[in-house]
Structure formats: structure tokens, C-alpha cells
Amino acid sequence: MTTPRCGVLVFAAVVCAGPLAAQGDVTARLVGRVPPAVAVAVRVLADSAAARGLPADPLVDKAIEGGAKGVAPERVIAAVRLVFGELDAAAAAIRAGRVAIPDGETIEAGAFALAAGMAGPQVTELVRLSTDPFPPAATLRVAGTLTALGVPAPQTVELVRETIQSGRSASDLLALPAKLQSRVARGASPAQAAAGLARPDDVRGPPPGQGKPDKGHPPRNPHRP
């Protein structure tokens, strides 16, 4: 075999390996889980997603979910198209937040926030708030979870903004949903719980009597009103 032919073959293999492997992966995951017509439609949508820089796995996951739930094929395809639209809208909103090329994880988190009830401009605002050490994906997931828990989207944005701009850590941000659920379990509405978390004392540090106090803050007396 001549050297030029070897070079052409190696180049072609390298160029084609990624897309072909991805396509084969999609097909392999769908075989036996969805009707053939759904598999074909999802493969086409997955190719379109990849061409637009969107992650394809959420589309496959949604199709598999529809197949497992016994949903009619046309409705599965409609749901996959809906996910495609959410991913596309999330990517656009994230790009508007000054992230030129968002990664798949951030796009998925943005799509989750949209599915939870947030609007595109709110996703953009959350991405703008996500300066180091707050990854946009983390901010979007927390905001989406808070909204899914029933906190109004504008209030969610404000809670996240106050948490980030008050100088708290990323772990504090990630702890917000659990704290909110704890308050809701004690009888507060999601909006009331979020309003309580927005107060600096609630955002900072663990509840009274739990954990180590922050440096510079003396331990509070839990029995003192």
C-alpha cells in the first residue's frame, strides 16, 4: 500500500469514527426499547442535535423513557422533539449569557431549568451570575430544582443572586434545595421558605446547633429567640 493511500485511509477513519460511533451508540441504545419508527426519528434528531452542538443523550433518554412507559410512538417522537427544542432554547439562552460555546452538561442543566418552569431570559441571567467558583451548570440545576419545588421563577433568580453575591461558597448554593425542602416539610410554602432562605442568616452556615460555626461567627444559642 502506498503512503498517500495509508494517509487518506487514516484520515478518513479519524474523521468518520466519532460520528459513526455516536450514531451506532444511539442505535444500540434504542434497539428493543422503542419501535423502529421511533428509533429512526430519534436518530435523525440526534444527528441534528450533534450538528447544532447540542447533547444527543437527553433525546435518547426521553425516547427510552417513553418506550418504558408504553407511550404511543407518535407521542414519544413529539416528546423527543420537545426536549430538542428545550436544549436548543437553553443553548441560545446560555450563549446570550456570554458563554460562547456551552458544553453539554450546561445545556442539559439549562434545559432542565426551562422544563422546570423558568424562562429563557432567566436562564441567561443565571448564567451571567455564575462567575467563578459557581459553574453555570450548578447554578442552573439548583435554580431548576428550586423552581420544580414550587418557588416562583423570579424569586428563584433572586435567591440564587443573593446567595452568590453575598460571597457564599458553591456548596452553600448546592444546599439550597435541601434547606428549602426542610422548611416546606415544616409547613412553609415554597415561596415562604425561599424568602426565609434569602435572609443572610439563613443562607450562611448550618442551622442552629448543627455543624461547626463559621469562623468569626460565635455559636448561636438555639434556645434564645
Binding site: 427510552i64 423513557e65 418504558a68 452538561e105 459553574p135 450548578a138 458553591a170
Partner: protein
């Protein structure tokens, strides 16, 4: 063209004389000798430019072949492949190929999935998560979600007590997962203790975020 009699052929080859042939072959033999005598036996002289003209014609025809046909020929014509392999290099190549296969295949034997969930599964951070559902009248309860390809029989819950509490504990990779409980194999139920989002099929999925730290810009 009629074939000559073997005796006439022998005459033409010089093995017999005309007189030795039987009378009935004399006419045929004479005609054959006449034709042989008519052949121009002078040496053939080729023009000196013939080679150059032939090669020009060959090159012109080669250029006239279409690109498609040449490409097709490039693909379909057999190639001669010569490999000279040193034994130690062959061993190293086989080891590299085996390593590549192991990397491309996921833990379940399928090609690795991309995205946050798969990224998390590749990391050591996985947590034990306990799922609980209160379903007093249920005969069986399953857990299905993005972490088990929505397979409702893959993760059955066990009855924790006689008062209808079902539970299961499993290891989940860090990341965000959507799931639901399947009661008696047909009724999908959301987790009342978890947030839920529209599933796109007219129902809702519960959502769980596993892990709570951020390292190197990635959510775990």
C-alpha cells in the same frame, strides 16, 4: 476457412513433396503452395516514432478517464499490502487494542454514554441513596429512572414493614437523575418527597440531585 488435409500440412511443413501426395490431394496441395508463395516474407520494419506515438496515446486515454471511474478503481482494485512486523511491536499493538476496547466499552458492556450522568459515573463519587414510598395496597413496587434506562423491573423495592412502606437503597453516580415508582407493574407514581418536572407524556418525573460539592468547575 476450410482446414487443409494433414498430408497437405505436412507438404507445407516440408515433410513431404508434392509427388508423394495422392492424386486426389494434388489440386489442394497446389493451391496451398500458391498461397504460401504469395506471402510477403520481407522483414517488418517498424517506424522509429512508433513507441513514442503509442505511449502518447496511452497517456491521453489515461487522462480521459473520469475522476469517478478512477476513484471507483482506487477503491475496488486490489492493493498489495506488505507488513513487516517485529514480534515485540505486535504484542504492544494487541495490548493497545485491548485497552482501547476496554475504554470504549462502559461498565455494562455498552459503549460509554456521554453527558453529565456518564461523566459522574466515571468519577469515584457515587452515593448510596435510599428511596422510600408509602404504598399500603401495593403488591410490588419498582424504581425506574434515567439511572437504569427506565427499566421498571431492574430495581424492585422491598416491603420494609407491614404498614405499607416500601424501600430500596442503591448506589447512584453523582449528578441529576429523573425517576418514578411503578406500582404493581402499571401505575407510575412520583416521589412525594422530591421535586418533579413534566415528563412530556402527560405525567411527571421526580428529580434527585446526587452529590453536593463542586470540584474544578464540575458539579458532583
Amino acid at each position: 476457412m476450410n482446414a487443409y488435409d494433414p498430408l497437405v500440412k505436412q507438404l507445407l511443413d516440408g515433410e513431404l513433396t508434392l509427388a508423394e501426395l495422392p492424386p486426389e490431394l494434388q489440386a489442394e496441395a497446389s493451391e496451398a503452395l500458391r498461397l504460401l508463395a504469395a506471402v510477403d516474407r520481407r522483414a517488418v520494419m517498424l517506424p522509429e516514432t512508433l513507441d513514442a506515438r503509442v505511449m502518447d496515446a496511452v497517456r491521453t486515454r489515461a487522462r480521459a478517464v473520469s475522476l469517478t471511474r478512477r476513484s471507483l478503481g482506487w477503491i475496488t482494485e486490489p492493493w498489495e499490502l506488505r507488513l513487516r512486523v517485529r514480534p515485540w511491536a505486535l504484542g504492544a499493538a494487541l495490548a493497545a487494542a485491548a485497552a482501547l476496547v476496554l475504554v470504549l466499552r462502559g461498565p455494562g458492556g455498552t459503549i460509554s454514554k456521554q453527558g453529565p450522568a456518564a461523566t459522574a459515573s466515571a468519577l469515584p463519587e457515587s452515593l448510596l441513596v435510599r428511596f422510600v414510598l408509602y404504598a399500603p395496597g401495593a403488591k410490588q413496587v419498582g424504581l425506574a429512572g434515567t439511572f437504569n434506562q427506565w427499566n421498571q423491573s431492574a430495581t424492585p423495592l422491598v416491603r420494609a414493614s407491614s404498614d405499607g412502606v416500601w424501600t430500596v437503597t442503591l448506589t447512584l453516580p453523582a449528578g441529576q437523575h429523573q425517576y418514578g415508582f411503578v406500582v404493581d407493574g402499571r401505575r407510575w407514581v412520583t416521589d412525594p418527597a422530591a421535586p418533579a418536572v413534566d415528563d412530556g407524556f402527560g405525567r411527571r418525573n421526580s428529580v434527585i440531585a446526587v452529590g453536593g460539592t463542586v470540584r474544578a468547575g464540575r458539579v458532583l
